[in-house]
């Protein structure tokens, strides 16, 4: 007899049926540690009962005795539906003694696995076909731990084979990668370099009797530069960290425009000095803005969840190293040239005006989101 009215009733009553349980899942954990691969596979008893029959007496109750009697059959059934390959070569999987655990929808058998691959794999492929023929909606929830990283994936007929790269993403390599990105960003980030230069140009001079005059000793120049670089560094580290950790977020158009404005102001200050005694305070104030700029670069690089602080410190140290390299080249050169009219007029005034003009163009580009310069 056609029982379609039950369908109608159910359907009109809200479609999603009452779900006493969830659909079928298994939990497969694989760990790669110290050249050893091990695993644990939790499979629901009710699924196994449907597949191979656990409730021997058919009374509706699955007892430990009934499960125990089927342990080897369970292991054989499950392992026939799981294949693991390391770098293309099949790994042997050996089952261990089974236990019982509870998940949200009932009891599961816990099947320990020992995996033997030819060598420690750099790439792991998993073929998963458990219950695929009797319940295509079954999924295997994979938790793969390797080299300090945890990966999760949903295995099942929708993607029967999945491959995972285990290449050494050691913390140190990650750190070096982010540090390199930091250096690179300072190197190609003209706005940051020019801002720093505008603050450094007058460091070998002193504003006296309404004109720039050379400082006497290298020590004076060095102390000036040291204060400026330190203030800039401290300030941008603060905002870089705050933004990366999600405590503060500013619109990037606003940030980038403010960075351009900071370069204009710093350059003009060299020509018509307003701040000359305590340029490190200027470096600090504008450094706060530049930090947000660094943060958006770091975000674009993608942050490793497991090593957020590591990436942050690495990137920041890279930025500082890039900065110091610029200072190391600039300071001796400027100190040597400080008495020449070339330095005081052409470099200091002319250079600053050029920088101001360039930065003003950026400012217009960034505020109005137009492109004026061809590079």
């Amino acid at each position: 007899m056609m029982r379609w009215w039950i369908a109608l009733a159910l359907a009109l009553a809200g479609l999603a049926p009452a779900q006493a349980h969830k659909p079928s899942d298994s939990y497969l954990a694989i760990t790669v540690a110290d050249d050893k691969l091990s695993g644990q596979w939790d499979i629901a008893l009710r699924d196994l009962d449907f597949a191979i029959g656990l409730d021997a007496d058919g009374n509706g109750e699955i007892t430990w005795g009934e499960v125990r009697a089927k342990h080897s059959e369970i292991a054989a059934y499950a392992l026939a539906r799981l294949a693991v390959r390391g770098d293309g070569a099949a790994c042997a999987i050996e089952p261990g003694p089974q236990q019982i655990d509870d998940h949200t929808d009932g009891a599961y058998t816990v099947l320990p696995l020992t995996l033997r691959c030819a060598k420690t794999p750099t790439q792991l492929s998993i073929d998963y076909t458990l219950f695929a023929d009797i319940d295509p909606q079954h999924r295997g929830l994979l938790n793969l731990q390797a080299l300090g990283l945890t990966r999760t994936a949903v295995l099942g007929p929708q993607a029967p084979t999945q491959t995972f790269e285990l290449k050494s993403v050691s913390l140190w390599n990650q750190f070096v990668d982010y540090a390199r990105e930091g250096v690179w960003h300072i190197w190609i980030g003209f706005d940051h370099i020019l801002f720093l230069l505008c603050l450094l140009l007058p460091a070998v001079l002193v504003w006296r009797s309404r004109r720039w005059q050379p400082v006497e000793t290298f020590r004076d120049a060095f102390v000036g530069v040291f204060k400026i670089v330190t203030a800039f560094t401290v300030a941008h580290s603060i905002t870089l960290s705050l933004a990366t950790l999600g405590f503060v977020s500013l619109p990037s158009r606003w940030v980038e425009s403010a960075i351009a404005a900071s370069v204009v102001l710093a350059a003009l200050n060299n020509v018509w000095p307003v701040f000359h005694g305590r340029r490190w305070t200027v470096a600090f104030a504008f450094g706060l803005i530049h930090g947000f700029g660094f943060a958006s670069v770091l975000a674009d690089l993608g942050l490793p969840r497991e090593a957020l602080a590591l990436a942050l410190v690495g990137f920041n140290l890279g930025v500082e190293a890039g900065q110091l390299a610029i200072v190391a080249v600039f300071l001796p050169l400027a100190f040597a040239l400080r008495r020449s009219g070339f330095y005081r007029r052409a470099v200091m005034v002319g250079g600053s005006l050029l920088i101001a003009a360039l930065a003003a163009t950026w400012l217009v580009e960034r505020v109005f989101e137009v492109k004026l310069l061809g590079f």
Partner: protein
């Protein structure tokens, strides 16, 4: 090239928050994951329960049907019968595993472009379980085109159009169904759509009259008609009449999770949380009922509230882990009322409303938008309410509040 540091703040926010989200998720499933594997103390210890084939002839019938199907897995009639039996079993037990078993029965035709009509109808039923409504409708359209008197296909069409708030299409399906079914079901089908398109009063009257006129109708049919009547009455604010219809439906003595959930919601709205705890005392296994129990326990100050809330959190986390998004409505209610996280509830309710548009879907969206102080987020629900002329005291009050906050 020096402009590379532009743009992309939202991504920064997301990636910076991701670890926190992951952390809270792992907290949510933590207690469970922490339960260590064990070796049971004795062989007689019962670990889990499954349908008992020894005592239940229905289980044996199903097993016999399955055995027959295994011998001939490409037989259309056997495959469709088996799939239909599993769908019924899913409804009776509330276990979605049976939906997967039903899909397995249709394997030879699962990706076919033009399977036999009977297969198409069953495939549509399975699609709608996964909220793949467009795929389901495509199969049902093809089915009624080939077989205009296929009542099952018309019923599912009506149902899916209702959920998607396409009431004109639902009414067309109801008219096509009318000559193929009983007067009570035909009336109930039409009344369901009418009640949400400015005709709630006449719809309730027609449904009540049809029930009077069909005292001999089967209990399942009466239960469903009474539940719909109760809901229409409730939306119209006719509390006493709604209560009467609910009680008549419950008095039929059938286990029906949907009815229990609807009545529990009615009681919760009437500040009668204690009665919910009594009504559902056996129902903690079904998610929808567990949600009502937890809500009621919290409202009544019952000490079991926290434990139930933890169980629910674990079940939602388990669903999310496999990429399942078909519980967003319930999860939104849970997150808002029991975890107090209005922004997350709002995100869930919005995503849910894009798929399902029934009064309950609109309600959680509007409530979450109010709680999160983002009245504009409830726009789609308010538009639905206005465009259809939905009569609902609760929804209209929410729309009024949202309008005032704007």
């Amino acid at each position: 090239m020096f402009r590379l540091s532009l743009r992309r703040c939202p991504r920064l926010e997301f990636s910076a928050l991701a670890p926190i989200w992951v952390f809270s998720l792992s907290l949510a499933i933590g207690p469970q994951a922490a339960a260590a594997p064990r070796v049971p103390a004795s062989d007689t210890q019962v670990l889990d329960r499954v349908p008992a084939r020894a005592a239940d002839p229905r289980v044996r019938d199903l097993q016999a049907l399955r055995a027959a199907w295994r011998a001939a897995p490409r037989d259309v009639d056997l495959s469709v019968r088996l799939a239909r039996r599993y769908v019924e079993q899913a409804a009776a037990e509330g276990d979605p595993r049976y939906i997967g078993y039903a899909q397995a029965a249709l394997t030879p035709w699962w990706t076919a472009t033009a399977p036999p009509v009977a297969v198409r109808v069953q495939r549509a039923v399975l699609y709608q379980y996964g909220h793949q409504f467009s795929e389901a409708l495509a199969d049902l359209d093809a089915a009624v085109l080939a077989e205009p008197t296929n009542a099952e296909a018309w019923s599912w069409q009506a149902a899916i159009h209702m959920v998607r708030a396409d009431y004109a299409a639902a009414l067309r399906a109801c008219s096509a169904l009318a000559p193929l079914t009983s007067a009570l079901l035909a009336t109930a089908c039409k009344a369901s759509a009418d009640s949400l398109t400015g005709q709630a009063g006449p719809a309730a009257a027609a449904l009540a009259a049809a029930l009077e006129a069909a005292p001999a109708a089967g209990p399942e049919e009466r239960l469903w008609a009474l539940t719909r009547l109760a809901e229409i009455r409730e939306r119209r604010g006719e509390g006493a009449l709604a209560e009467r219809a609910f009680r008549q439906a419950l008095a039929l003595g059938l286990d029906d999770v949907y009815l229990q959930a609807a009545y529990a919601d009615f009681l919760l709205d009437s500040a009668r949380a204690r009665e919910v705890l009594t009504l559902l005392k056996d129902g903690a296994r079904a998610d929808v009922l567990l949600l009502r129990l937890a809500l009621a326990a919290k409202a009544a100050g019952d000490s079991r509230a926290d434990g139930w809330a933890r169980d629910l959190a674990a079940r939602f986390a388990a669903a999310r882990a496999r990429g399942d998004t078909t519980h967003e409505k319930e999860e939104a209610r849970f997150v808002m009322a029991l975890q107090g996280d209005a922004p997350r509830a709002l995100a869930l309710a919005r995503s849910n409303f894009a798929v399902q548009r029934e009064p309950a879907d609109a309600r959680i969206l509007m409530e979450a938008a109010l709680a999160a102080r983002q009245p504009e987020a409830a726009g789609p629900a308010r538009e639905w309410l206005q465009a259809q002329g939905v009569e609902s005291v609760v929804l209209q009050a929410l729309a009024g509040k949202l309008g005032a906050t704007k």
